[in-house]
Protein backbone atom coordinates (compact mmCIF):
# COMPACT_ATOMS: atom_id res chain seq x y z
CA UNK A 1 0.00 0.00 0.00
CA UNK A 2 1.87 3.05 -1.23
CA UNK A 3 0.19 6.40 -0.78
CA UNK A 4 0.61 8.99 -3.49
CA UNK A 5 0.55 12.46 -2.04
CA UNK A 6 -0.21 15.48 -4.21
CA UNK A 7 1.62 18.66 -3.26
CA UNK A 8 -0.27 21.46 -1.60
CA UNK A 9 -1.24 24.44 -3.73
CA UNK A 10 1.01 27.24 -2.48
CA UNK A 11 -1.73 29.88 -2.92
CA UNK A 12 -3.80 28.03 -0.35
CA UNK A 13 -1.10 28.21 2.32
CA UNK A 14 -0.36 31.22 4.54
CA UNK A 15 2.52 33.61 4.04
CA UNK A 16 5.27 32.81 6.50
CA UNK A 17 5.98 36.39 7.56
CA UNK A 18 2.95 38.39 8.60
CA UNK A 19 3.05 42.16 9.20
CA UNK A 20 1.92 42.92 12.74
CA UNK A 21 2.64 39.37 13.99
CA UNK A 22 5.93 40.23 15.64
CA UNK A 23 7.30 36.70 16.08
CA UNK A 24 7.02 35.70 12.44
CA UNK A 25 10.13 37.46 11.05
CA UNK A 26 12.35 35.80 13.68
CA UNK A 27 11.17 32.25 13.35
CA UNK A 28 10.20 31.34 9.83
CA UNK A 29 13.04 30.03 7.66
CA UNK A 30 14.83 32.45 5.36
CA UNK A 31 16.28 29.70 3.17
CA UNK A 32 14.06 28.00 0.62
CA UNK A 33 12.53 24.80 1.92
CA UNK A 34 14.10 21.67 0.47
CA UNK A 35 11.91 19.53 -1.77
CA UNK A 36 12.58 15.90 -0.88
CA UNK A 37 11.72 12.68 -2.64
CA UNK A 38 8.99 10.98 -0.61
CA UNK A 39 10.36 7.80 0.94
CA UNK A 40 8.77 5.28 3.26
CA UNK A 41 9.76 7.53 6.14
CA UNK A 42 7.39 10.31 5.01
CA UNK A 43 4.74 7.94 3.61
CA UNK A 44 4.33 6.24 6.95
CA UNK A 45 3.40 7.91 10.18
CA UNK A 46 2.30 7.34 13.74
CA UNK A 47 -1.03 5.48 13.84
CA UNK A 48 -1.03 4.84 17.57
CA UNK A 49 -0.61 8.28 19.06
CA UNK A 50 -3.57 7.51 21.33
CA UNK A 51 -1.39 4.94 23.13
CA UNK A 52 1.05 7.69 24.05
CA UNK A 53 -1.21 10.61 24.98
CA UNK A 54 -4.25 10.92 27.20
CA UNK A 55 -7.55 11.26 25.35
CA UNK A 56 -9.67 14.03 26.84
CA UNK A 57 -12.87 13.49 24.88
CA UNK A 58 -14.82 16.00 22.84
CA UNK A 59 -17.25 17.38 25.42
CA UNK A 60 -15.54 20.38 26.97
CA UNK A 61 -18.50 22.65 27.77
CA UNK A 62 -19.32 21.07 31.14
CA UNK A 63 -22.77 20.19 32.46
CA UNK A 64 -25.28 21.42 35.04
CA UNK A 65 -23.80 23.78 37.58
CA UNK A 66 -20.40 23.24 35.96
CA UNK A 67 -21.45 24.30 32.48
CA UNK A 68 -19.12 26.89 31.01
CA UNK A 69 -20.42 30.40 30.38
CA UNK A 70 -21.12 31.38 26.81
CA UNK A 71 -23.01 30.23 23.73
CA UNK A 72 -23.27 26.45 23.78
CA UNK A 73 -22.42 24.90 20.41
CA UNK A 74 -21.86 21.55 18.75
CA UNK A 75 -19.23 21.42 16.05
CA UNK A 76 -19.50 18.50 13.63
CA UNK A 77 -16.27 17.96 11.75
CA UNK A 78 -15.30 15.54 8.97
CA UNK A 79 -11.63 14.80 8.36
CA UNK A 80 -10.76 13.84 4.78
CA UNK A 81 -7.64 12.81 2.92
CA UNK A 82 -6.43 14.19 -0.40
CA UNK A 83 -8.87 11.96 -2.32
CA UNK A 84 -11.85 13.07 -0.23
CA UNK A 85 -11.92 9.76 1.63
CA UNK A 86 -12.71 9.93 5.34
CA UNK A 87 -9.78 9.53 7.73
CA UNK A 88 -10.97 7.33 10.57
CA UNK A 89 -8.95 6.63 13.69
CA UNK A 90 -7.14 9.95 13.49
CA UNK A 91 -6.10 11.70 16.69
CA UNK A 92 -7.41 15.28 16.76
CA UNK A 93 -6.30 17.82 19.34
CA UNK A 94 -8.34 20.94 19.87
CA UNK A 95 -7.82 24.07 21.93
CA UNK A 96 -9.61 27.39 22.21
CA UNK A 97 -10.14 30.36 24.51
CA UNK A 98 -13.27 30.79 26.62
CA UNK A 99 -16.33 32.87 25.76
CA UNK A 100 -14.61 36.00 27.07
CA UNK A 101 -11.49 35.49 24.93
CA UNK A 102 -9.17 34.09 27.62
CA UNK A 103 -6.94 31.00 27.34
CA UNK A 104 -5.89 28.79 30.22
CA UNK A 105 -2.24 29.46 29.59
CA UNK A 106 0.51 31.08 31.67
CA UNK A 107 1.37 33.42 28.82
CA UNK A 108 -2.13 34.77 28.31
CA UNK A 109 -2.48 38.13 30.03
CA UNK A 110 -5.34 39.18 32.25
CA UNK A 111 -7.44 41.16 29.80
CA UNK A 112 -10.45 38.90 30.32
CA UNK A 113 -11.75 36.61 33.08
CA UNK A 114 -11.00 32.92 33.48
CA UNK A 115 -14.04 30.64 33.53
CA UNK A 116 -13.33 27.98 36.14
CA UNK A 117 -15.64 25.60 34.29
CA UNK A 118 -13.78 25.88 31.02
CA UNK A 119 -10.34 24.44 30.35
CA UNK A 120 -10.56 24.66 26.57
CA UNK A 121 -8.71 21.55 25.39
CA UNK A 122 -10.08 18.41 23.75
CA UNK A 123 -8.33 15.34 22.36
CA UNK A 124 -10.24 12.61 20.59
CA UNK A 125 -10.17 10.06 17.77
CA UNK A 126 -12.26 10.30 14.58
CA UNK A 127 -14.80 7.53 13.94
CA UNK A 128 -14.79 5.29 10.86
CA UNK A 129 -16.52 8.04 8.86
CA UNK A 130 -13.70 10.45 9.74
CA UNK A 131 -16.13 12.40 11.93
CA UNK A 132 -16.27 13.78 15.42
CA UNK A 133 -18.45 16.17 17.36
CA UNK A 134 -17.09 18.79 19.73
CA UNK A 135 -19.46 20.11 22.40
CA UNK A 136 -18.12 23.44 23.55
CA UNK A 137 -18.93 27.12 23.96
CA UNK A 138 -18.25 29.60 21.22
CA UNK A 139 -14.85 31.23 21.82
CA UNK A 140 -14.67 34.98 22.21
CA UNK A 141 -12.56 37.42 20.24
CA UNK A 142 -9.46 38.84 21.91
CA UNK A 143 -7.18 41.79 21.33
CA UNK A 144 -3.69 41.34 19.95
CA UNK A 145 -1.65 43.96 21.78
CA UNK A 146 -0.05 45.60 18.79
CA UNK A 147 -0.23 49.37 18.51
CA UNK A 148 -2.63 49.35 15.59
CA UNK A 149 -5.41 47.45 17.29
CA UNK A 150 -5.77 44.02 15.79
CA UNK A 151 -8.27 41.59 17.28
CA UNK A 152 -8.31 37.86 16.69
CA UNK A 153 -11.79 36.79 15.60
CA UNK A 154 -13.40 33.82 17.36
CA UNK A 155 -11.49 30.72 16.29
CA UNK A 156 -10.68 27.15 17.33
CA UNK A 157 -7.26 25.49 16.96
CA UNK A 158 -6.80 21.98 15.55
CA UNK A 159 -3.82 19.63 15.43
CA UNK A 160 -4.41 16.47 13.40
CA UNK A 161 -2.58 13.23 12.70
CA UNK A 162 -3.49 11.62 9.40
CA UNK A 163 -2.21 8.27 8.18
CA UNK A 164 1.25 9.48 7.16
CA UNK A 165 3.88 11.96 8.37
CA UNK A 166 3.16 14.15 5.35
CA UNK A 167 -0.44 14.66 6.46
CA UNK A 168 0.32 16.17 9.88
CA UNK A 169 -1.70 19.38 9.98
CA UNK A 170 -2.04 22.27 12.43
CA UNK A 171 -4.75 24.78 11.56
CA UNK A 172 -7.58 26.96 12.86
CA UNK A 173 -11.31 27.24 12.19
CA UNK A 174 -13.31 30.44 12.04
CA UNK A 175 -17.01 31.33 12.35
CA UNK A 176 -19.26 32.57 9.56
CA UNK A 177 -20.38 36.19 9.43
CA UNK A 178 -17.85 37.49 11.94
CA UNK A 179 -16.93 41.09 11.14
CA UNK A 180 -13.44 40.53 12.56
CA UNK A 181 -12.67 37.81 10.01
CA UNK A 182 -11.98 40.43 7.35
CA UNK A 183 -9.18 42.11 9.31
CA UNK A 184 -7.53 39.08 10.90
CA UNK A 185 -3.92 38.94 9.75
CA UNK A 186 -3.54 35.23 10.31
CA UNK A 187 -6.65 34.20 8.34
CA UNK A 188 -5.84 36.74 5.64
CA UNK A 189 -2.24 35.53 5.33
CA UNK A 190 -3.77 32.89 3.05
CA UNK A 191 -3.74 34.46 -0.45
CA UNK A 192 -6.52 32.46 -2.08
CA UNK A 193 -10.08 33.55 -1.20
CA UNK A 194 -11.61 30.10 -1.61
CA UNK A 195 -8.92 28.62 0.63
CA UNK A 196 -9.69 31.24 3.29
CA UNK A 197 -13.38 30.39 2.99
CA UNK A 198 -12.53 26.71 3.59
CA UNK A 199 -11.36 27.72 7.08
CA UNK A 200 -14.83 29.06 7.97
CA UNK A 201 -17.40 26.67 9.46
CA UNK A 202 -21.03 26.57 8.32
CA UNK A 203 -23.90 27.30 10.70
CA UNK A 204 -26.53 24.57 10.38
CA UNK A 205 -30.03 26.09 10.42
CA UNK A 206 -31.51 25.24 13.83
CA UNK A 207 -33.93 22.30 13.85
CA UNK A 208 -34.59 22.05 17.58
CA UNK A 209 -32.23 19.07 17.89
CA UNK A 210 -30.26 19.78 19.98
CA UNK A 211 -32.55 22.43 21.45
CA UNK A 212 -29.88 24.07 23.62
CA UNK A 213 -26.94 24.46 21.25
CA UNK A 214 -26.10 26.01 17.91
CA UNK A 215 -24.71 23.51 15.43
CA UNK A 216 -21.79 24.20 13.11
CA UNK A 217 -20.31 21.93 10.44
CA UNK A 218 -16.76 21.96 9.20
CA UNK A 219 -14.53 19.90 6.96
CA UNK A 220 -10.75 19.50 7.23
CA UNK A 221 -8.73 18.12 4.31
CA UNK A 222 -5.31 16.95 5.46
CA UNK A 223 -3.37 16.96 2.20
CA UNK A 224 -3.38 17.58 -1.52
CA UNK A 225 -4.62 20.34 -3.81
CA UNK A 226 -7.70 20.94 -1.66
CA UNK A 227 -5.80 20.76 1.61
CA UNK A 228 -7.07 22.94 4.42
CA UNK A 229 -4.64 25.85 4.84
CA UNK A 230 -2.18 25.59 7.72
CA UNK A 231 -2.56 28.17 10.49
CA UNK A 232 -0.30 28.72 13.48
Amino acid sequence: MQTVIAPRDERTQPARIVPGYPQTPWRNPAQPLVRRPPTLSELTGPLEVARRVQLLGGDIAGHGEKQALGQLMHLRVRVLDEDGAPVGGAVVEIWQCNAAGRYIHPNDDEHAPVDRNFYGAARLVTDDAGSFTLRTVKPGAYPVPTRDGWWRPPHIHFSLFGKVWLSRLVTQMYFPGEPLNGQDRILNAVPDAAARESLVARLVPPTGDPFDALVYEHCIVLRGRKATPAQP
Binding site: W26, R27, A30, R36, P37, P46, D109, W165, P232
Partner: protein, 183 residues
Protein backbone atom coordinates in the same frame (compact mmCIF):
# COMPACT_ATOMS: atom_id res chain seq x y z
CA UNK B 1 -0.53 48.16 28.17
CA UNK B 2 1.72 46.59 25.55
CA UNK B 3 2.64 43.09 26.75
CA UNK B 4 5.94 41.73 25.55
CA UNK B 5 7.22 38.51 24.09
CA UNK B 6 4.94 35.52 24.01
CA UNK B 7 2.14 37.42 25.71
CA UNK B 8 1.41 39.13 22.42
CA UNK B 9 0.00 36.23 20.48
CA UNK B 10 -0.69 32.54 20.65
CA UNK B 11 -1.10 29.89 19.70
CA UNK B 12 -1.43 29.03 23.33
CA UNK B 13 -0.96 25.28 23.35
CA UNK B 14 -2.74 24.07 26.46
CA UNK B 15 -0.34 22.99 29.21
CA UNK B 16 -1.77 19.46 28.86
CA UNK B 17 -0.69 19.35 25.22
CA UNK B 18 2.62 17.69 26.07
CA UNK B 19 1.85 14.65 28.21
CA UNK B 20 4.36 13.56 30.85
CA UNK B 21 6.44 10.74 29.42
CA UNK B 22 5.54 11.46 25.79
CA UNK B 23 9.24 12.08 25.12
CA UNK B 24 10.23 8.55 26.16
CA UNK B 25 9.87 6.16 23.23
CA UNK B 26 11.87 3.37 24.86
CA UNK B 27 8.82 1.92 26.56
CA UNK B 28 5.11 1.66 26.00
CA UNK B 29 2.65 0.75 28.72
CA UNK B 30 5.51 -0.57 30.81
CA UNK B 31 6.96 -2.80 28.07
CA UNK B 32 10.44 -2.12 26.85
CA UNK B 33 11.20 -1.46 23.18
CA UNK B 34 13.85 -3.56 21.44
CA UNK B 35 17.24 -2.12 20.60
CA UNK B 36 19.80 0.25 22.03
CA UNK B 37 18.34 3.09 24.09
CA UNK B 38 19.74 6.49 23.12
CA UNK B 39 19.16 10.09 24.09
CA UNK B 40 18.60 12.98 21.69
CA UNK B 41 18.55 16.54 22.97
CA UNK B 42 19.07 19.99 21.55
CA UNK B 43 18.34 23.66 21.80
CA UNK B 44 15.90 25.51 19.55
CA UNK B 45 16.70 29.13 18.72
CA UNK B 46 15.29 31.92 16.59
CA UNK B 47 17.18 34.32 14.32
CA UNK B 48 18.67 36.50 17.05
CA UNK B 49 19.91 33.43 18.93
CA UNK B 50 17.26 33.60 21.64
CA UNK B 51 16.35 30.17 23.00
CA UNK B 52 12.66 29.35 22.65
CA UNK B 53 10.66 28.02 25.58
CA UNK B 54 7.47 25.92 25.31
CA UNK B 55 8.09 25.05 21.70
CA UNK B 56 6.65 21.66 20.73
CA UNK B 57 8.92 19.09 19.05
CA UNK B 58 7.69 15.77 17.67
CA UNK B 59 9.68 12.87 16.24
CA UNK B 60 8.79 9.91 14.00
CA UNK B 61 11.23 7.09 13.29
CA UNK B 62 11.66 3.44 12.39
CA UNK B 63 12.25 0.84 15.08
CA UNK B 64 15.60 -0.77 15.88
CA UNK B 65 15.28 -3.02 12.83
CA UNK B 66 14.49 -0.12 10.50
CA UNK B 67 10.79 -1.04 10.26
CA UNK B 68 7.95 1.48 10.41
CA UNK B 69 4.91 0.46 12.42
CA UNK B 70 2.61 1.30 9.51
CA UNK B 71 0.94 -0.82 6.79
CA UNK B 72 2.84 1.02 4.03
CA UNK B 73 5.98 -0.77 5.24
CA UNK B 74 6.01 -4.25 3.69
CA UNK B 75 7.73 -5.54 6.84
CA UNK B 76 5.35 -3.87 9.29
CA UNK B 77 4.14 -7.18 10.74
CA UNK B 78 7.67 -7.70 12.04
CA UNK B 79 7.74 -4.27 13.68
CA UNK B 80 8.41 -4.02 17.41
CA UNK B 81 4.98 -4.01 19.08
CA UNK B 82 6.38 -2.02 22.00
CA UNK B 83 7.85 0.79 19.93
CA UNK B 84 5.36 3.35 18.63
CA UNK B 85 7.94 5.44 16.77
CA UNK B 86 6.40 8.74 17.82
CA UNK B 87 7.12 11.11 20.65
CA UNK B 88 6.55 14.70 21.70
CA UNK B 89 8.54 17.07 23.88
CA UNK B 90 8.37 20.71 24.90
CA UNK B 91 11.41 22.94 25.25
CA UNK B 92 12.34 24.20 28.71
CA UNK B 93 13.43 27.69 29.77
CA UNK B 94 16.83 27.09 28.16
CA UNK B 95 15.12 26.18 24.88
CA UNK B 96 16.13 22.53 25.29
CA UNK B 97 14.08 19.49 24.30
CA UNK B 98 15.03 15.91 25.01
CA UNK B 99 13.92 12.46 23.93
CA UNK B 100 14.73 8.92 25.01
CA UNK B 101 14.37 6.55 22.10
CA UNK B 102 16.06 3.58 20.46
CA UNK B 103 18.69 3.84 17.77
CA UNK B 104 16.68 3.43 14.58
CA UNK B 105 17.71 0.81 12.07
CA UNK B 106 18.39 1.96 8.52
CA UNK B 107 15.28 1.51 6.35
CA UNK B 108 15.96 0.13 2.85
CA UNK B 109 17.79 2.71 0.74
CA UNK B 110 18.15 5.16 3.60
CA UNK B 111 20.62 6.06 6.29
CA UNK B 112 19.33 5.70 9.83
CA UNK B 113 17.50 8.93 10.75
CA UNK B 114 14.85 10.54 12.92
CA UNK B 115 12.14 12.81 11.48
CA UNK B 116 11.44 16.01 13.39
CA UNK B 117 8.51 18.42 13.42
CA UNK B 118 8.33 21.77 15.19
CA UNK B 119 5.26 23.81 16.06
CA UNK B 120 5.34 27.15 17.84
CA UNK B 121 3.91 30.61 18.19
CA UNK B 122 4.82 32.60 15.10
CA UNK B 123 5.29 29.54 12.89
CA UNK B 124 2.61 29.99 10.26
CA UNK B 125 3.16 26.38 9.18
CA UNK B 126 4.72 23.51 11.08
CA UNK B 127 8.34 22.89 10.12
CA UNK B 128 9.76 19.46 9.30
CA UNK B 129 13.36 18.36 9.31
CA UNK B 130 15.37 15.14 9.68
CA UNK B 131 18.24 14.25 11.97
CA UNK B 132 21.09 11.95 10.88
CA UNK B 133 23.71 10.13 12.94
CA UNK B 134 27.41 11.00 12.72
CA UNK B 135 29.91 8.63 11.15
CA UNK B 136 27.37 6.64 9.13
CA UNK B 137 28.62 5.57 5.70
CA UNK B 138 25.00 5.43 4.49
CA UNK B 139 24.68 9.22 4.99
CA UNK B 140 26.52 9.49 1.65
CA UNK B 141 23.76 7.65 -0.24
CA UNK B 142 20.65 8.87 1.59
CA UNK B 143 18.30 10.43 -1.00
CA UNK B 144 16.76 12.92 1.42
CA UNK B 145 20.11 14.17 2.69
CA UNK B 146 21.28 14.33 -0.94
CA UNK B 147 18.37 16.69 -1.73
CA UNK B 148 19.83 19.24 0.71
CA UNK B 149 22.43 21.63 -0.74
CA UNK B 150 25.84 20.12 0.06
CA UNK B 151 26.99 23.09 2.13
CA UNK B 152 24.04 22.68 4.51
CA UNK B 153 24.01 18.89 4.96
CA UNK B 154 26.24 18.92 8.04
CA UNK B 155 23.53 20.90 9.87
CA UNK B 156 21.34 17.78 9.80
CA UNK B 157 23.95 15.48 11.34
CA UNK B 158 23.76 15.24 15.13
CA UNK B 159 26.84 15.45 17.32
CA UNK B 160 27.67 12.59 19.63
CA UNK B 161 28.24 13.98 23.13
CA UNK B 162 28.68 10.68 24.96
CA UNK B 163 28.08 7.04 24.06
CA UNK B 164 24.41 6.84 23.10
CA UNK B 165 23.79 10.55 23.63
CA UNK B 166 23.29 12.88 20.67
CA UNK B 167 22.85 16.62 20.34
CA UNK B 168 20.74 18.07 17.53
CA UNK B 169 20.24 21.82 17.76
CA UNK B 170 17.60 23.51 15.65
CA UNK B 171 17.92 27.06 14.36
CA UNK B 172 14.68 28.31 12.88
CA UNK B 173 16.16 31.18 10.89
CA UNK B 174 19.42 32.99 10.21
CA UNK B 175 23.01 31.83 10.65
CA UNK B 176 23.29 28.03 10.61
CA UNK B 177 19.59 27.82 9.79
CA UNK B 178 18.45 24.21 9.95
CA UNK B 179 17.37 22.90 6.55
CA UNK B 180 13.61 22.34 6.57
CA UNK B 181 11.69 20.29 4.05
CA UNK B 182 8.88 21.37 1.76
CA UNK B 183 6.42 18.71 2.85
Amino acid sequence: MIPTGEATLGPFFPPRYVDAGANDLTQCAGRKAQGEAIGIAGCVRQEDGAALENLVVEIWQADAQGIYRHPADARHREADADFLGWGRAATDKAGTYSFRTVRPGAPAGRARHVNFMVMFSGLMRILKTTMYFPGEAANEIDPVLAAVPAARRALLVARQEAPGQYRFDIKLRGQDETPFFDD
